[in-house]
Amino acid sequence: MTGIILYGAGNIFSLTAALERLGIPYGFINSQEDFEKFDRYIIPGVGHAGAAMDKLEKTGLVPAIKALKKPTLGICVGMQLLTSYSEEGDSDLLNIFPIKTLRFQDSSEYKVPHTGWNQVYPEKDNPLFKNIPSGSHFYFVHSYFIEYDKTYTLLSANYNTEFSASIWHDNFYGVQFHPEKSGVYGETLLTNFSKL
């Protein structure tokens, strides 16, 4: 069963609705004791990365999250929290991935937020992307991105720079896009995660 870590950063109705459509059982994590009830975890998040980190720290769950050994998926800002630092609010983050979250340079050619469907390309083999072709479109909406990194980038995407659409290190995964809003392939990804 998937445990969704609750810390007050954004609405999770669409995520739980997607899990229900897919028949993926889930529950919620509010305290440290809740972790052992689940065999995998999702860290959701929308909004401001610095504010989200403050909220996460207030829950007292940070040490337990850093020590997780089971599959853990950060979505959008939930993924950015896994990195060491964000330019958004000049914030220090969980540092599970020693890479940074930076702001897109905006222009009339490259609008920010980066909003809409963009293609993603696997940089490594991983069961999270089973049955999802290279170049598939996923739905993004974000102003900050995780830099491309040879070691940690699992999926790359291009806007005005190449960036990490997904990252992977041991049991930790992150996706910048919203799988719950990314059509059939997004649903495939959530199903794949439930089987890791």
């Binding site: 109705f13 905006d106 009339s108 609008k111 469907w117 963009n118 059509g183």
Partner: protein, 251 residues
Amino acid sequence: MLSKRIIPCLDVKDGRTVKGVNFVDLRDAGDPVELAWNYSRQGADELVFLDITATVERRKTMVELVKAVARQINIPFTIGGGINEIADADALLNAGADKISINSAAVRNPALIDELARAFGVQFVVIAVDTRRIDAKNIVHLNGGRLPTERQTLEWIKEAESRGAGEILLTSMDHDGTKNGFDNGLLKTVNDAVHIPVIASGGAGAVQHFVDVFEKTNVDAALAASVFHYGEILIPDLKAVLKSNNIEVRI
């Protein structure tokens, strides 16, 4: 590459779609959820629901609609219509809306944009602008284009961007309903002047109009209602033509 988005717009009143809908394979053409599901299957990239419910129960009916859509639909959607305060936006966010669109309330109280962006992030805040030409000037209108304001369209859009709008939905009331094509001149001016995404609206009547709006203005998305509802343009056909014109689309 980031795709250009195709967005059907559904008008909803008291939880039911209004305006004629002509899908032969729908069990219930008035059910916004079934219609939305149908569009998502056809390849719509996003949906906009414009709620024109005018009763005191409007927030409740909007929240019910948003929840029903979020339960069933796997693409993003925006809800607009009569959103006046933070509490409206908060209820819709928690019901599963990806974005809200604000029109009159933002013109009357521009600081609302700052408040919404601070509370929910710029990605949640779409500013809808209805514009009409008066004496060779583009003027912002309210009440579905009936009520002119004193604001000039480009100047208002730039103010909205600076206050925290995450996207602009620009409807030309001069073109809306004409089926003669989008207002490409104004759309290009606006698109070149801002650094946030722009959705073109008003005037779509043929597939070529979508090709034109993307080629001539480079807007991020194009919205239409009746050409999709009446089946005059099918989204898979539209996207095939866009792709054959080297316009990036999700197929």
